[in-house]
Subunit: 396 residues, 4 copies
């Protein structure tokens, strides 16, 4: 990647922008890594695919390292750069703060942004502590702007369809849940240390990173709240090599978190988040057993939804693989013909779509900061339950 | 099926018998229902398929109801009938007691049989209480005969292969387990009451019926002992109609049991047994994540084993569906050509095979009554943990 | 396996027999190899599982080698042996000839058996030539006894269910078929020569062995006749080692046979039989596309049937995996609870069931010798089409 | 989306542009429908994801209808519009013609573009006739510019990986192929008539639309040429309603095309393209059976590749599901972490990537127009074989 000339800057500045005037929403994104790339792809694409009352303008990308931020701006198509998020918030061309940084920074940035009258999209987990999350949720409730927590997987079309089928009563009353998020990137004990393995930076390990998705997805799909949990957490490898051969650093977060839960409405379930499920690369799996049927989803086959309709005669009932690519499936009418798959990144585009629709239409959008707070309370209870070796209630 | 004439009696008496003299093992089976049918099929088949040092003789079937027992004898091919298990034990033509009755009767029958110098095959769970199981295990250790607990699924070829691959170190050190046994035959609230829903008769519900298999399979596959559990149990439907429209009877057992566990060697896992997983008919699922690979099994596809070999280059690694029908797979050389599937009942034939080999060869065989006891201790701890809402250690 | 004493003989003689008098059907089986084992298992089991108006008596097994035949009798449970099939037909205790020999011997044995007033079950293919098959079918039509051709896979429950769903109009008008039977046991060029590779003995290779099943299954499922075919056949390895290191023998049959076909009712399809599909062990796969839905089956997952019901709303339609183990599925009420799988051999037991029911009830049964003839005509046309490199019509 | 203001025009003009000077490649796209949308997404994304020696500039989109073309420009992000492709070719800001129109127009546009010294990307099929394709291929060979035929599926990562494994000898010598492309959008007889059902416009039906992909994929994967085919084609529904209720129009193309083929190296195979496979939405399926293994792909699970490695011991061999999302898989290092899926559109981005790399690096790229011609010769032979009901050789 060479340099970014001024023409490119101007060009990139209006990336995705077609409508004029009030419909433009200037995006200011904090973070230049994996999430930054995914969000950039979404902002670049959303108005090319969906008809919306507001148009994203990729205004400013912000990172601490000036050179890396410049490179990211050029690569991803942002019009300007900042190295201080406070400056970012102060800019007139930024209407929405898109926070893609580690969890320990979320509260400060989000609170400042809301105070400045900006819209906010905050990556999950909403915060590293319940206290921070409560403050953020309160601020969001008080603000006149839109605040959204980035539990993106709600907008994988198969997950959205799953929620629709639940809401339509197609599986009856939900009785059991089994949900896990399985990855394996830490199986190798020589895999290097990263900030994600530091309790100070990441808050927790698999729990906050992966378990947060599990908790939000189950809240979203069942409409029920977690009431109590019993958990265990485990760190399988105690320290890991620092990059550059400068010795080892301790792993201060969980490698795996397992918990039982009771939810509202008499639902019970098993839950798990791990980075040690060898061979499972990105398996967020959720199964809901209801009195009339079952729904099952696996993020490694994200275009598919399994549906068992127990109201069919037993002689012909069976798990049905719905290929979620039909025009009448959520978000799909804007994309390709039936059978033409979507990928991971599309959920981010759908998130951007619904966020812009909310901003343009003046409507609330979920997952809200309250949803982020609710998830954080569950994660916190899980952590305490594991530490205390006792059931821990969740107070809402 | 009408009557059994004398010629048939004689014929059936030597059912499966080909070898002469000391090699004959007279079987006396208690129980005439589902398990009785499955065991009968195994005894009838085992010496037709396997070369063994001992030959099963289907001597006597025993049930409380004379007419039903006669009918079962005729149907399944037993030479004689008894209606009192004590009389059965007293017969000279009975060398092995095959106990297929509800759990509350296991201890009394098995202890008497061992005391009389008989071999014993006892269906799982070994007993309804730990105290009974301890007494049975002590008696079995002291006896000069073979005592086996009927955790049949160890002998599904794919499960046997799974154990072999673990023992050969192919998945390295096991770190995580997720295991569940999902059925759905109680989802309909109008499904009738049976003895299986009575704590007095069955001891527990899904826990003892299905959870026992989960616990034994995981002990068998990992070679590790459960050390502590945190559990919840739930009864979703409190009472059910008695057959014949004579009112309702209370359900005094669990419909679902969920638990977390720590096992020896630092293994952690989630476990579940349920009769409410709509659409899951017989899904005993076990996944073992090790430092070098993963193995996964599902009883609804019992001829298949999923193996992820993490030592392969990442560019070509993947979950491998091993169709467990090759001559070099466990038990398979005696059956059909590759790709020709086995069914549920074959595991019973394999169990009979190994039991006869142990009797003929004077070798011990597992699962022993000690294995049955170990499982019972885990189930007992799960029950107490659920009741007390606390982690419960398992003392061995 | 040592010797068979007289008592065992008597015992085995009445193997499976419980009812008295006219209901007994004495079986005389020709052939002691793989098919002999599978049929023996079926005769031994059928009356233990199903209520039937007739009872199989495993009377006589016949093979050319006396010692091997004695051993097979002892192993499989036959009461007597013969080494000459003509003697077998002459016996009063033989009511039904069960022909499990290579195809070149079928006609002579079956014709003699029918002439002697015996019932006949003849393994597929019915004969090695159309002329023989025509003579056999004519004899069967003229006979007062039951004649059945052993296309056993019609009685895999999932295949039976598939036929029922087609007949019920659930997939509407069938337009396309793709059907193949994939094995791989000849992939290794050093695999030894067998009689199955000789045109003189086997008639053809993959075509008659595997293609016959494909043709019969498609006729059975669609109810349509093959009208014309265009085919190619290929022999990938021209000669193979004789067992015992006595040099090589030529392969004079096809290793793979591929064909297109037009069937009655405007159906078109692709068809294939091969022994070179590396990794496919026993994959008889049939997919039927109709105007209202699709049904798909794979013998490597023989307990499952895939059903796409195109009359469901597009938003929730999908391929449904029916686990064919419910009591209301064909043959299943006699077996185990839902979710407890059946295996390869069960289809033979179902075949024996329906054959005994036909004999006992005086009803015809299919596949008849006419069905065997129809399949043979298709195979013959495939062979000629491949040789002449031209479309070849099938005249019925 | 309403109007496009001038600023947006300028912005969009440099869409994707970061590098300066000679590295810019001005794209002129003809076509505004489905393929236009997919190609636009690719041009917009490619330089955001991949490091390349050339940068796409979305210069001009061209369509016959001015209003629709303006709308497409605004929607997809093109800097300018034309309504005459000749004017497009005459523009200095267009370096590459991206031809996304129906097949009957390909030859004239491509020949003119090549004559004008432009690079060309031409959608498949290359042309509607062999004569046109020959002329185009000759022109491409003579031209000093890059000409590529849009067989995009070569660049689905799993397909690219499949080709790599074949080339590395991992499945040995290929003996058999079974390949089909199954869709179902014409199953409903009331689905409206479109230009795709007109022989004049589309050349052929399922054959050219879907069969072309099958043929190219098999040529790509095996490296072998088709030598002879025997085919049948079928039109199931003879006429269809015109949009707007203005009566019916005849369907003059095939609904399904089935063929057998012999390829170089002794490969034989079955092939099929259909729009009537109810429930199959986009199932391009290719299975290659080699002497050492098998590879299988299905576009409905495009992130997965099935690999059976026959060199593994039989006791642990099995079909391995490779989740093609690892950094060392083709194209993947530029995308998301392992287990994060790609979608249909990504293959277009990869195509753009390789085309820009070829232009920037002065290297040839495949599929070339010669590849397009080779596929067209096969399709032509299939059509003739079906008409003449005879095997038809393919002359190269």
């Amino acid at each position: 990647m060479s340099t970014v000339d001024e023409g490119d800057r101007l060009a990139a500045a209006s990336e995705g922008a077609r409508a004029v005037g009030a419909g433009r929403v200037g995006i200011g994104m904090v973070g230049t890594a994996f999430m930054g790339a995914a969000h950039s792809q979404a902002w670049r694409t959303v108005n090319r695919v969906f008809e919306l009352p507001a148009t994203a303008r990729m205004a400013v990308i912000c990172g601490r390292d000036a050179a890396r931020t410049e490179a990211a701006a050029a690569r991803f198509g942002w019009a300007a750069t900042e190295t201080d998020w406070r400056a970012l918030i102060g800019r007139d061309d930024v209407d929405l703060l898109d926070i893609c940084t580690p969890g320990d920074t979320h509260a400060e940035i989000a609170l400042a942004a809301l105070a400045a009258g900006k819209h906010v999209l905050c990556e999950k987990p909403l915060a590293n502590t319940v206290a921070e999350a409560e403050e953020m949720a309160a601020a969001a409730r008080a603000a006149g702007t839109v605040a959204m927590c980035g539990f993106t997987y709600r907008r994988v079309p198969a997950v959205s369809l799953m929620a629709k089928l639940v809401a339509a009563g197609r599986i009856g009353r939900i009785r059991q849940v089994r949900a896990c998020y399985l990855q394996d990137w830490l199986v190798d004990p020589s895999a290097p240390w990263t900030w994600r393995l530091s309790a100070d930076r990441a808050g927790s390990g698999a729990l906050g990173d992966l378990g947060a998705h599990v908790v939000d997805a189950v809240r979203f799909l069942t409409g029920a709240e977690f009431e109590a949990v019993s958990a265990l957490t485990e760190t399988f490898v105690a320290e890991r090599p620092l990059p550059g051969g400068t010795g080892n650093a301790p792993v201060t977060v969980d490698d795996a978190a397992l918990f039982l839960a009771r939810l509202g409405g008499g639902i019970v379930g098993t839950f798990e988040a791990t980075r040690y499920a060898t061979g499972r690369k990105n398996a967020l799996r959720i199964e809901l057993n209801g009195s009339l049927g079952t729904l099952a989803f696996d993020l490694e086959r994200l275009n598919e939804l399994e549906f068992y309709d127990g109201t069919q005669p037993s002689g012909e009932a069976g798990f049905r693989r719905i290929l979620v690519t039909e025009p009448d499936h959520p978000y799909l009418s804007a994309w390709w013909p039936p059978g033409h798959l979507l990928g991971y990144e599309h959920a981010f585009t759908h998130q951007a779509r619904d966020l812009l629709a909310a901003i343009g239409g003046g409507e609330p959008v979920r997952p809200s900061f309250d949803d982020g707070l609710a998830a954080q309370r569950v994660l916190d209870a899980v952590g305490r339950s594991a530490r205390d070796r006792a059931w821990c209630p969740i107070v809402h």
